[in-house]
Symmetry: D2
Subunit: 330 residues, 4 copies
């Protein structure tokens, strides 16, 4: 039984708490949050204790911590938790600074404790099936990858300002998805972006619509499309052209009902946002983490993976500014 401390009792922390409690091989022992009441409410719901971060990290009975606090605390908490001997599952991104993230990797590596980064989409059954089919050679050699990833609505501009920008905050999921599906990392990146959805996002120095093109050493190409606004819901699709075929992972719909009237044929919309779409993926992600820790299997997503995605985000940010291709170094 894995005894778990949860750092962060916000929306995503609550999702993780359900899975920690629901998994037969893990139990939620303690919750910490900068708002103690939030920690208390969540802890009470699952028979856990609200504590300070330090009390969580210093409790020798706790085997693992799940870091679901704000991005600027991730690196510090990874370092502190691994130093305290805990296994760690940390939400993405590792850090907004690539340099800081690399230092964190070095520190964590010295402890020898396992760290997993929470790229939840890798555990989506649709993307998983696509990856498995590609890995099994069902479409031959991969040649051209396309990722469509649109949010239903932009976050507040106040959030945009501290987010690190679209490439680090939103597209980072898609960079990791590309690495996951391709089993390879790009050598160069070209990005364009604009703030056509909301000029205020542009005034805040960010873009809300962007396309990134990536090339690989062996000639593969990948393209990622992001928009902060798809009014019909959360649009999450992956498409991979290979030498012997095409794989497409389509959206999940709210239901399977089709209505045909004089107005046309209408079906349900995609599930609205990441909680609806990826709720099952979060449970699978947690199972994978528990299994890796308890059974000593390799982490399915590593801290190195988190840093690779961050390096790609930095390259894209730079390319969007310079208008030139940027080589990525990992």
């Amino acid at each position: 039984m894995l005894k778990v401390g949860l750092l962060g009792a916000g929306r995503i922390g609550q999702v993780h708490a359900v899975n920690i409690a629901g998994n037969l091989r893990s139990t939620l022992v303690a919750v910490a949050d900068v708002y103690p009441e939030a920690a208390e409410i969540l802890a009470a719901k699952y028979g856990a204790e609200a504590r300070s971060v330090n009390d969580v990290l210093n409790d020798p009975d706790i085997d693992a911590v799940l870091i679901a606090s704000s991005t600027d605390t991730h690196s510090d908490l990874i370092e502190a938790a691994t130093a305290a001997g805990k296994a760690v599952l940390c939400e993405k991104p590792v850090d907004l600074s690539l340099e800081r993230a690399k230092a964190c990797l070095e520190a964590a590596a010295q402890t020898g404790k396992p760290v997993m980064i929470g790229f939840n989409r890798r555990f989506d059954p649709n993307f998983g099936a696509l990856k498995a089919a590609s890995a099994a050679g069902e479409i031959g050699k991969a040649e051209l990858l396309s990722i469509t990833s649109f949010d239903p609505a932009p976050p507040p501009v106040s959030y945009i300002k501290v987010s690190g920008g679209l490439f680090r905050d939103m597209m980072i999921h898609d960079f990791d998805m590309a690495n996951f599906v391709m089993g390879d990392r790009p050598v160069s990146i070209r990005a364009v972006g604009s703030s056509i959805v909301d000029p205020e996002i542009g005034e805040a120095g960010d873009v809300d619509t962007a396309v990134v093109t990536m090339t690989y050493a062996d000639g593969k190409i990948a393209v990622i499309k992001n928009s902060r606004r798809a009014v019909y819901g959360y649009d999450q699709r992956v498409e991979l052209l290979g030498s012997e075929g095409l794989l497409q992972a389509e959206n999940m719909l709210e239901n399977t009902v089709v209505k045909s009237t004089t107005a046309g044929v209408a079906s349900a919309k995609p599930t609205y946002f990441f909680l609806e779409r990826y709720m099952p993926a979060y449970a699978v992600e947690w199972e994978a983490f528990v299994a890796a820790v308890l059974d000593g299997a390799p982490m399915p997503v590593t801290l190195e993976d988190g840093i690779a995605a961050l390096a790609m985000a930095e390259a894209a940010t730079e390319s969007a500014k310079s208008g030139q291709a940027v080589e990525v170094t990992y």
Copy 2:
């Protein structure tokens, strides 16, 4: 908090146990089964006690019982449980004998305790959305209903022999679905059936493939198609033609991946069987029962509903033998 005794620790009892334990307003107190070890294993998993049926029914602390034992015990247990003051959720069918089921209804009604019959498909989000759209008048007046309901593989012939026959055992779900979607009950029924899937099923006196046509007082028509074998999975579709359009609830697929190769375009199969397809529906069903009992709302599926479906099954059985239309009396 609803305290629940579970009667029956088999496959479907296990499904219900998960939902009883997972619902924040209900708790599993006791489990009974003809195989005491089965009850013990299941009880232990959820911190409940294994008991005899009598001990469950006589425990004044238990508010409700969920009857998931074999069909031949349903009527007796409904009567005993309601007499003992429990609210009841009983798996379908009420009984294989319409007469016995009606006597059960009378006895239960005299206790005044609420009884719900577990027609889980009413709680499927797809069929629910279809029903809601029809009820909202989105396709005008209902005219022609089609239900396709195929199992992936036939059960053992030993089961067939005690099942009451396809119309009572399998199509009873579809009779209830027709009543649910139409909000009306048919006046006459015509049935044809054959044992084309497996002649042994015919030798056992049953059919494995059947089509039932039903007419309604106002001219509506419904048709139900059943097969015990659809090798590609559990095929569960409903289609309703109305004066202003068509509603179709399609199958749920294992995933959304589409593969295009020289061999054609391939997508995932329907979810394999009722546990995969209706797992979410069972949870919603349980929530509906808990809400009805605790909040005093009307039962969403009543014992009368169970008896109506059974009356339709009897009429269909008779029509399949006689080759004539049979009037249904409820």
Copy 3:
């Protein structure tokens, strides 16, 4: 080069004229119609002559006639044309009277001239592909056939009155489709029908919504659903369950555009009616006729096929009245 006389210059005659003229192995020589101006206009368009029926039949240069006149003339014209030595393609149905149709068959057979009945749907690429896949054993042995066939809007009641009724006028296409797909003919038929779309149709002695169930000697079952009104368009689907899978021929849509908005996901409607849906099928039908006549191949749809469908329509008409299963004799 097949020299063709066209009898009937109405809507369906015009469709055939295009195909006769467009086929490189046939030429339109003459057109006859009860309205001579209609014949003249159509003839002029394709460089043919407007003539009387007798002048067409007596012209030794004409190899074949296409009968697209009103149903009550079909039997007489088939007999006269074959007696005059012409090959014949006649629109369905052969006749409204089964007895008369059988006499026509006998008379035509004695001339030894080939006669094809225009069941255009056999030449639809979708139904053709379904039939081919079934014939190739791709889903094992056929077990359960479902045909959905809805018109977009009912014809005028004045037409209904002379149509012979829904089973002879509309469902006759589906009876032939069942024979085509199954490669077998049913032994018994059960029908229900109502006039829920338009009570005036009921007052005229006909139904507008009907379901027919058919059983086969080896245990196969087929079900046909008809409605005179599907406001979203022409709904033409065939679905065949076999021992090793399911085949479905879905509707053709006006275009492939999908629109996703806050209101939902909308796609195009089915093509509106038979001219839109089956235009390519009419061309393929004509090619098949020309090939059969010029190359001496067997007719792909025979006069016997037309009579079989008519016998099934009669049985269905009788069953809908009596409420009993009716054995079909061919």
Copy 4:
């Protein structure tokens, strides 16, 4: 009646001949080809005359010429034909040299004769419906366009060498599609390409897989993906994200049959190549040309449109080499 001379009796010339002959307002008078026998065979089929190009251009009875000869003759023939007073429909591209194409435009403009460039895809009913929906504001303001355009198999390397390269030969259709759908032209273009399908194509100096990203003055973005090889067929899709929704034009399939077996759910492949997919579009294109000439309507695709697409192809070619964004001048 428009009297037409056809220059070029190859594969695409034959497609046009069918449409010229089939259109009720045009007639094929003469055919010219560098292989006189090809011209004779095609002319004979439609009752036209085989002639030299000069004889076609000098015939005062000919109103219009359709240029379907090899690309290197297009500019010269447009100039000669307009100088001879003919209306012109010329296959794409105008020329492989942007400079030469611009000179051609100037020369043609001085004659005042109408010239249309054969971007057939604008007349595809699916793309047409998408464009119409966007133009009608059904998804608000256009923001992000994606075009997927894959050929089923690469042409011979010998063709590649004289083709002008993927951007001028293949993607030029997609550049025009972007201009058509967006109703706007991009200001800058970034391209990446590789020869991952066939290294010989790389050795010939071309790419076989490419992605182009384009930005617009108002912040819109477009991305075009090309591959010379999609083994499952001709993949032609357009997708437009707007402020109020998404429009997708999906592939056309060979038929609508779906087969479900233990192996999965299989549907038909996309129509194989451009002749299958765009045959109806070529007919509509010709109708549009005839209507423009006879009724004096504006040309639906102009020589300027052809030159714009060519300018974009040049910019993409340059960007793919330099790795930098290239500004497009029209």
